[in-house]
């Protein structure tokens, strides 16, 4: 009984405060303040749920207007290769393609680096090194994304251009945005994976050492597989973070919905497009305006799908020790 548990844990504190008098009423006495706090906490929880419901409602309502409009054909929406609302072209592929390209690029950077960092921190680093490194890494996650955006545009892009030549690499390109986004989500991957690795019981490692495994073998063949579900969940959360990331791609990836697989060309992601279009003087009744809600809905569905998937993975592949 959860209630019971709460009463017991709060018992000792109660004893301290009321010098044993409370002993008789332990678990019985009504405390109005407690109810007040519970109510307040419930309201806090409810607000976040209501906000989510409200967002889903607005997204759904406005995108329904979009899909119901005679200019929009659902099949063309998913298969069309041009997105130009001003001339009635609503093919979302270029936007989705760019979003996937930047996210992939980000994961290519963040997965190997993040996992290496996680393995190092949990298996190799001394307590002191860990105490220094981990907070520094988490600072990376605290840098405002607009700073990353300008870093991509004014440092990463020139770097790519100096390596590959300015004619190969456009000034706005998905590769530079993706790489910098990888740096942004690196702390997310490493920190969540490290949590998963640290949660693996010590007895497993000791058993591995006992069988004569080296440190590397223990880390890669015992600890990593044991923490796989947590790591997979971390990666999926990181992907959905990358898909939803806005500022970096709005600044550095480009501002035209181009369908291209070349990461050195400019292309516009879903989030980038929403930012750009809602920044102009768009009238409320126009189909352009409704179209950004349809894009928002697609984004929402993608991230929701990824999150559901990550929960499934955690549930299915969870290895229970102890």
């Amino acid at each position: 009984m959860p209630n019971h548990a709460i009463e017991i844990t709060s018992g000792p504190r109660l004893l301290d405060a009321t010098q044993g008098v409370a002993r008789t009423s332990l678990g019985r006495r009504r405390r109005p303040a407690e109810g007040l706090i519970q109510g307040f906490l419930f309201v806090c929880g409810a607000i976040s749920i209501l906000t989510t419901v409200g967002i889903v409602f607005v997204l759904g309502k406005e995108s329904l207007l979009f899909f119901a409009s005679p200019e929009v054909d659902l099949a063309r929406f998913f298969t069309g290769t041009t997105w130009q609302p001003a001339i009635g072209q609503f093919g979302i592929l270029p936007l989705i393609n760019a979003t996937l390209m930047t996210s992939m690029m980000a994961m290519v950077v963040a997965i190997p680096l993040g996992l290496c960092v996680a393995v190092y921190l949990s298996e190799y680093a001394s307590l002191r090194a860990r105490g220094i490194l981990k907070p520094i890494l988490e600072v990376l996650a605290g840098v405002p994304t607009v700073v990353y955006g300008y870093f991509a545009l004014s440092a990463m892009t020139p770097l790519l251009r100096s390596i590959l030549g300015p004619n190969t690499v456009d000034i706005y390109n998905t590769a530079s945005a993706g790489i910098v986004m990888g740096i942004l989500i690196l702390p997310l991957v490493s920190s969540m994976s490290e949590d998963a690795l640290s949660a693996v019981p010590r007895s497993l490692r000791e058993a591995a050492y006992g069988l004569g495994a080296t440190k590397l073998e223990t880390a890669l063949k015992v600890v990593l597989p044991a923490a796989l579900s947590g790591i997979a969940a971390a990666l999926i959360v990181a992907i959905s973070r990358a898909v939803g990331e806005t500022m970096i791609v709005a600044i550095a990836a480009g501002a035209g919905p181009n369908l291209t697989l070349n990461p050195f060309k400019a292309a516009e992601t879903m989030t980038g497009h929403i930012v750009r279009i809602s920044g102009g003087d768009l009238s409320y009744d126009s189909i352009d305006y409704n179209s950004i809600f349809a894009i928002g809905l697609m984004l929402f569905l993608i991230t929701l799908g990824l999150n559901v998937l990550s929960r499934q993975i955690v549930r299915r592949f969870r290895e229970v020790y102890d």
Partner: protein, 340 residues
């Protein structure tokens, strides 16, 4: 594991909320308003006099609200004049909506709900008719001139001047490579950087150069669109094969890094714009009516103030002053409207 789950859920919530503002953010509709209470001293500000110059306006003595709507190009200029009008003592509200010339004239002529329509083109005869239909006889007030600059990076050494036909090819699906436009130009992709579809600049260019055919403009390859002119400047700077167009103001700010092309052999300068020989220049107007000017002294005061001081502000906004003849014609028109 539990910790991961919790942090995963937290992240979901963060992502969901982080995504949300961008998607529900309403389209920007800048407006200048103030909530100041109109001051006392209700005296008529403008009493028409016999001479040809408009009477001096004392903004301190003006009260009542002013509603203007229209061109997003005129908007920064009108906003600046409105701010100055307030700084000098006007205590009413000025609302200026940046909704585009066509929409502004529609609100002025059909709904008849605004005092002033801002426009970056002359009023059309159909619009004059609908104005007259609701009993409004528009008075045209020229306030300045805007010029479009077609720009390339200073690294571009092969193009200094283009014709209108070449412009049409450079900014439409008719060409992909520079050599498609002129065989003597390099066989490289044209990288285009143009203003977004909501902007008056885009509309003006498409109307003037591409015969209003938006589809041709938007189907061009390697094209980036942005409402933010700095994005366009950055983009054009990025490659010798990039080209873009935007208001002259942004070219002027970056004249050390960008080259403005001559159109039909005419370079954009104060003289060519003033003489009307530069092809991509357009007049900026305000429209109001004699009746509004007479019935709402605050509108008459604002317009007179505008015409008296517009040339002190216009270059700072990045536009060109209208010729003295046009400005004095505008003053005459206002004066005539006030005196009959």
């Amino acid at each position: 594991m539990r910790r991961i789950l919790v942090s995963a859920l937290l992240l979901i919530a963060v992502i969901a909320t982080a995504c949300a503002p961008a998607t529900v953010a309403p389209a920007a509709q800048p407006a200048v308003t103030s909530t100041a209470v109109p001051a006392a001293a209700p005296t008529s500000a403008t009493a028409p006099q016999g001479n040809s110059e408009l009477p001096e306006v004392n903004p301190l003595e003006v009260k009542g609200d002013i509603i203007a709507a229209g061109s997003s190009t005129v908007f920064p200029l009108s906003e600046r004049m409105a701010v100055r009008f307030k700084d000098e003592g006007y205590s009413g509200n000025i609302t200026i909506d940046s909704i585009g010339s066509g929409a502004g004239l529609e609100r002025f002529c059909k709904a008849g709900e605004t005092d002033i329509a801002n426009a970056s083109r002359a009023i059309k005869s159909s619009e004059v008719e609908s104005c007259q239909f609701i009993g409004r006889e528009p008075v045209e007030i020229r306030v300045g001139t805007d010029a479009l600059a077609v720009v390339v990076s200073k690294q571009n050494t092969f193009v200094q001047s283009v014709t209108r036909e070449q412009l049409a090819k450079l900014f439409s699906d008719a060409a992909t490579k520079w050599s498609d436009v002129d065989p003597s130009w390099p066989n490289e992709n044209i990288l285009r950087f143009i203003p977004g579809t909501d902007s008056g600049t885009f509309d003006y260019f498409v109307e003037d150069i591409l015969g209003k055919d938006k589809a041709r403009a938007l189907s061009a390859a390697n094209q980036q669109l942005s409402e933010d002119d700095n994005v366009l400047v950055q983009g054009v700077l990025g490659s010798p094969y990039a080209i873009g167009y935007f208001g002259y103001a942004y070219y002027a700010e970056n004249a050390d890094k960008l080259n403005a092309l001559s159109i039909e052999g005419v370079a954009p300068t104060a003289e060519t714009v003033d003489q009307g020989t530069y092809p991509l220049a357009r007049p900026l107007f305000m429209y109001t009516t004699a009746k509004i000017l007479q019935e709402k002294p605050q509108v008459a005061a604002f317009v007179s103030f505008y015409l008296a001081h517009v040339n002190e502000e216009i270059t700072a906004v990045g536009y060109f002053p209208a010729s003295e003849a046009d400005l004095s014609a505008a003053r005459q028109a206002v004066l005539a409207a006030l005196s009959n």
